[in-house]
């Protein structure tokens, strides 16, 4: 939304506080002033150890439910009943992979009568390579990801897409969040720096970039400000940038804090032109293709070893359970190799299947420290091979220090680059860490080690903010609103947590579970809280209409990317290819004409490329794909912690009239003819199942059939013979356009 904003003024804007300002701040400050012995505010202290409360009765599946249910009970509220399976699979699919379930998947899930069918579904979706595309996009929102510089020229940033692929792969491989941060912040300085970790440093380079600044010195500090702001809000959940020009009365972040924090990044190569990748990775020698087979073999070998370890433990756990719980017959059946079991034994084992199902969490706990560390190393190696494998990794858009002996950092008087003040050394925000960092230049040379020191501090297990901020983001994406409603503002100016104990419990759990994002998904998704229906409750709504307390699962509207992807998916045109350079689907000439040089850096592509998932559509700052832009796509001028949800006529115009939607409706119709044949009834049935994950109700079926008939009649009555071709097919296209525009298509219950 801030696409055309210049950097200078953006920073001015951000010099100023994000709003929840004066009143709350006044109150807090008045409070602190009146009681000098008051405890430090919650966000300055590490997450506290809390035991889940004991609500009275209620369906508690895991501690999350205990926290949520207790707070509901305190307000005399209850939760909604569990949603039906059709709703659950649609919710989970959009939530985890950003795509609708196929009718076959819906049916299989409904038929699955195993007690852990739901958990299996969660696991399947978490294992999907499309999970990273969905959750990577959430991170890209925070990283203000774009592939061009913005401003008048809006030049390409070569290789920026490799950062996007890195992020997707990191989520897919469940790269521990602490490691994920370490690589992005200091991927060039860590002892085990790799092509992947160097790619990750692209994080620093994604912002707006003025290639001909009026005031180059000021611009250098604006670049720095972009980094301070991005790291501050995204990782720490603090709006450090407010202190660029001066102290603020109620804000514990001082101007000195700002410049001390900025000093971590000062040695970085700010002066390099963004159209030049700053890092050339030494790769030499063999051409990429020749190496890719080699990578494939490496990867398989690594995967085999992981499987060996897992299989060993799994067998042991299962055997222990059988020994503990089962009778001798079962034990015998279990110990008989599968191919030699008689039918009776097979049936017997099927009956105890539930017992043999091992939760991922339990398996994780069973590993010895040595196994755990080996697996971690293996998984990371696989991840790196994956990143390197098929891509040109010779060059990336990376970041490193210009030298190991940087110029001193000075406070700028009133934020004016031309008025340097006192020298400061790198330091953490004094409100949360008084001790100075220990900075050791890495032995590899060439860098200062400052960013590594910062990254290590940020990823400390007892850091007061890092884990809280991230679990809150995960929560927000699953439940619609964060426990802290201002996801990038946890400081004195932000909102207080609605359920502080739950936030702390989750944050500690996150760290305990090795900063595993997928572990947090499992926790949240398998809770009773998440499995609730969206049933309305007038009494509960009286005081909490948006269901912030989770007395129901609040329905949500799909964001831009899953909406476009769902259109492509149901029409049968979606190309699920993963990774690689971004694609530029066709944009109407009228829109291209608004570019200063129409069509520049937006080449024509073939159909397969045009139909790839939205996360692979080139993010060009001054030219956005209308199907995405109009549906509240992320602002990329600065980190976007939460998408806007607007409902306007221009959205409807694009969804009704664009060439893209009409083409998709035609393809959808063609698919229906292929899959359901000529029978209108079968077509209607199929169109509902594909688009909504359910069959039509009787009234819906009647209405749809009548619609088809009347449309066909209209077409058949047209005056010109050439307009009367294939009335039934034309009518079906019309129905498809209607279905793609239906509220249900973009609503997740």
């Amino acid at each position: 939304m801030c696409r055309k904003t210049s950097r200078r003024t953006t920073s001015r804007l951000l010099v100023v506080l994000l709003l929840p300002a004066a009143i709350a701040a006044l109150q807090e400050s008045a409070h602190a002033g009146s009681d000098s012995k008051a405890e430090a505010p919650w966000w300055k202290q590490p997450p506290q150890r809390v035991d889940p409360p004991a609500p009275i009765g209620g369906p508690v599946r895991n501690p999350i439910d205990a926290f949520v249910l207790k707070s509901l009970q305190d307000s005399s509220l209850a939760q909604a009943p569990e949603a039906d399976r059709k709703t659950l699979i649609r919710r989970l699919s959009f939530d985890l992979i950003g795509l609708p379930p196929t009718p076959e998947e819906v049916e299989a899930f409904e038929r699955d009568d195993r007690p852990d069918a739901y958990e299996r579904l969660v696991d399947r979706l978490l294992d999907s390579p499309h999970y990273g595309e969905r959750w990577g996009r959430h991170w890209l929102d925070l990283a203000r990801y774009a592939e061009t510089t913005g401003y008048e020229r809006d030049s390409d940033k070569p290789h920026a897409w490799k950062y996007r692929d890195y992020v997707i792969a990191a989520f897919n491989h469940d790269l521990p969040y602490d490691r994920f941060l370490l690589e992005q912040l200091a991927g060039d300085e860590i002892p085990d720096a790799s092509p992947a970790s160097r790619t990750a440093t692209g994080f620093y380079r994604l912002g707006l970039y003025d290639d001909e600044p009026a005031d180059p010195l000021m611009d250098r500090f604006d670049q720095l400000d972009d980094i301070v702001r991005t790291v501050g809000t995204t990782v720490l959940g603090l709006t450090l940038q407010c202190a660029r020009c001066h102290d603020h009365k109620f804000d514990p972040i001082t101007q000195a804090d700002y410049y001390k924090f900025a000093a971590f990044f000062v040695p970085g190569r700010q002066t390099v032109r963004d159209s030049e990748p700053s890092i050339t990775l030494a790769a030499g020698g063999q051409p990429e293709e020749a190496r890719s087979a080699e990578f494939e073999n490496q990867k398989r070998a690594l995967q085999r070893r992981v499987e060996e370890i897992r299989a060993g433990r799994l067998a042991q756990i299962k055997l222990e359970r059988v020994l503990r719980n089962a009778d001798n017959d079962t034990l015998a059946a279990y110990q008989t190799p599968r191919e030699r079991r008689d039918p009776e034994q097979t049936t017997l084992l099927r009956s105890v299947q539930g017992m043999l199902r091992v939760e991922e969490g339990e398996l994780q706990k069973s590993f010895t420290a040595a196994e755990k560390s080996e697996i971690e190393k293996l998984v990371h190696s696989i991840f790196e091979v994956e990143i390197v494998k098929t891509r040109s990794i010779n060059r990336v858009l990376g970041f490193t220090d210009a030298s190991s002996t940087p110029e001193p950092t000075r406070v700028l008087v009133r934020g004016d680059a031309h008025r340097p003040g006192a020298v400061v050394s790198p330091g953490f925000p004094s409100a949360i860490e008084a001790r100075p960092p220990t900075i050791t230049p890495p032995s590899t040379g060439g860098t200062t080690g400052r960013r590594l020191a910062l990254a290590r501090w940020l990823t400390r297990d007892d850091h007061p903010l890092t884990a809280r901020v991230m679990v809150n983001r995960i929560w927000q994406h699953h439940f619609g609103q964060g426990i802290v409603a201002s996801p990038s503002d946890f400081g004195a100016m932000g909102d207080s947590p609605a359920n502080p104990a739950l936030l702390d419990w989750l944050a500690r759990e996150f760290v305990t579970r090795g900063w595993s994002v997928k572990a947090m998904h499992r926790l949240m998704l398998t809770s009773t809280t998440y499995r609730q229906s969206g049933r309305w409750n007038e009494t509960a709504a009286e005081n909490d209409p948006v269901a912030a307390s989770l007395w129901r699962m609040p329905p949500r509207r799909l964001e831009a990317e899953p909406t476009r992807d769902a259109v492509l998916a149901v029409s049968g045109s979606l190309n699920l290819e993963i990774g690689g350079p971004s694609v530029t689907p066709p944009i109407d000439d009228v829109v291209l004409q608004t570019q200063s040089r129409p069509g520049e850096n937006w080449p024509k592509v073939d159909e397969r490329a045009a139909f790839r998932r939205s996360v692979y559509v080139k993010v060009k700052r001054m030219l956005a794909l209308p199907e995405l832009e109009v549906l509240d796509a992320a602002d990329n001028a600065e980190p976007c912690p939460r998408r806007a949800v607007t409902t306007t006529a221009p959205q409807a115009l694009t969804l009704l009239n664009s060439a893209f939607m009409h083409d998709q409706a035609a393809r959808f119709a063609a698919r229906l003819l292929r899959e359901a044949g000529d029978s209108p009834s079968a077509q209607v049935d199929r169109v509902f199942k594909l688009a909504f994950g359910r069959g039509p109700s009787m009234p819906e079926r009647d209405q749809a059939l009548a619609f088809l008939e009347s449309q066909a009649k209209l077409i058949a009555r047209r005056p010109r013979p050439e307009d009367r071709v294939e009335p039934a097919r034309e009518a079906l296209r019309a129905l498809c356009l209607v279905i793609l525009n239906a509220n249900e298509f973009v609503t997740v219950d």
């Binding site: 055309k4 804007l13 221009p650 115009l653």
Partner: protein, 478 residues
Amino acid sequence: MFDSGSDSGSHSRRRVLKTFAGGFGMLGLAGLLADEARAGATRGRADDPLAERPTMFKPRAKRVIFLFMSGGPSHVDLFDPKPRLDRDNGKPLPFEMPKLVRTKTGNLLRSPFKFAPRGQSGIEISDLFPKLATRADDLCVIRSMVADNINHNGACLQMNTGEQAFSRPSMGSWLLYGLGSENQDLPGFVVISPSQPAQGAPLWSSSFLPASYQGTLVSDLDQPIADLKNDRLDLSRQRRQLDGLRKLNEIHKASRAEDSRLGARIASFELAFRMRTEAPEAFGLAGESPATRKLYGLDEPTTSIFGRQCLLARRLSERGVRFVQVYHTQTSKHASCQLWDQHGGLKSELPANCAATDTPIAGLLTDLKARGLLDDTIVVWGGEFGRTPTAEGTDGREHHPFGFTMWLAGGGVKGGIVHGATDEFGWHAVQDKVHVHDLHATILHLLGIDHTKLTYRYAGRDFRLTDVAGEVVTPILT
């Protein structure tokens, strides 16, 4: 209905409104509708939340154009001359600054610009607005504005929604909720801003009001509304398809009556359909005469951007768009969230901003008057706050909400008057203070709404634009 396309006339308006509002919270509106006879007099489609609704008393104006100078324009350099600053230039402010202060500004700073009395009324306006100065007798200059927040985001929120910190419906949304839209074929609340002002969408959000009342942003002046045309589908076939869509959506919504977003989305498709015929005309500037283009400065690089914004505003107002907000966020030189934020560059940036807006604003007033529209349109000019009479650096001023200037013109407002005053330094508003809530109350009053009675029940409480404050500024009314 799915197949025939006939519109149901059976929906009683009351029921439909209830449905659109999600079945709760429409008490304020229900109050407005107490008189069935008045309710019967409404125009527009009965099932549209934007259907025009009766006012509470005789209105003085029907619509608003709010020219928002994003960043905080300097009152002491534009509309509030202070000879004392010339005399005491470089001296410290002789009294203690208020507690709500962002930074330590320096000493008093005289305005580098000259003022002169203008028009018959003799209102003093800076030389930076030569064209606007010729319209002085149309202006009601309020020199005693007061706001509560010293930062852009909070202050912009307050100026637009009445509240500084939380999500609340914007003034345009409240007006649509209270009055509906005069034109059912265009959005009733349009925001024209080439760049994002302050934090963007929250400034024109409908917040907890039904989603149909949110502002529609137009940011691309070359192509204000995309996909208006559809060569593949003529209007009558699209009408039938929309009937099908509507039926499907009604079935889906039946079990989700509480979600106003669903009703709003249905309405947005209906509006989109009607816009196909109306909007190309409304948003197109091609038919305007050379004289009009000249009046708004469309052909001069300096004024062409804001000129187009103002002309678009006139075209929309002319067609009954209730609330048009024009944000000045882009000049020929650069785009910005806060163009008028002169922490520095007072002598260069401020004249540039004035040059970019002077002709377009004067042109707008002239044009509205010539067309008889100024009688029932209120034009509001201002930013989120003013700027300190004291210096920031050598050539800048800080944010200043304690006393600043805005002006009104048009329907029901006295022209050629100055209301209120700041102290002799231009620091505090001292006479006839007008708080943001008072301004909101006055605008609602001019449109025939009692600001204390336009309420909406949400989360167990009745909310209104003016919260628990606001008084109509009666001395400025005609």
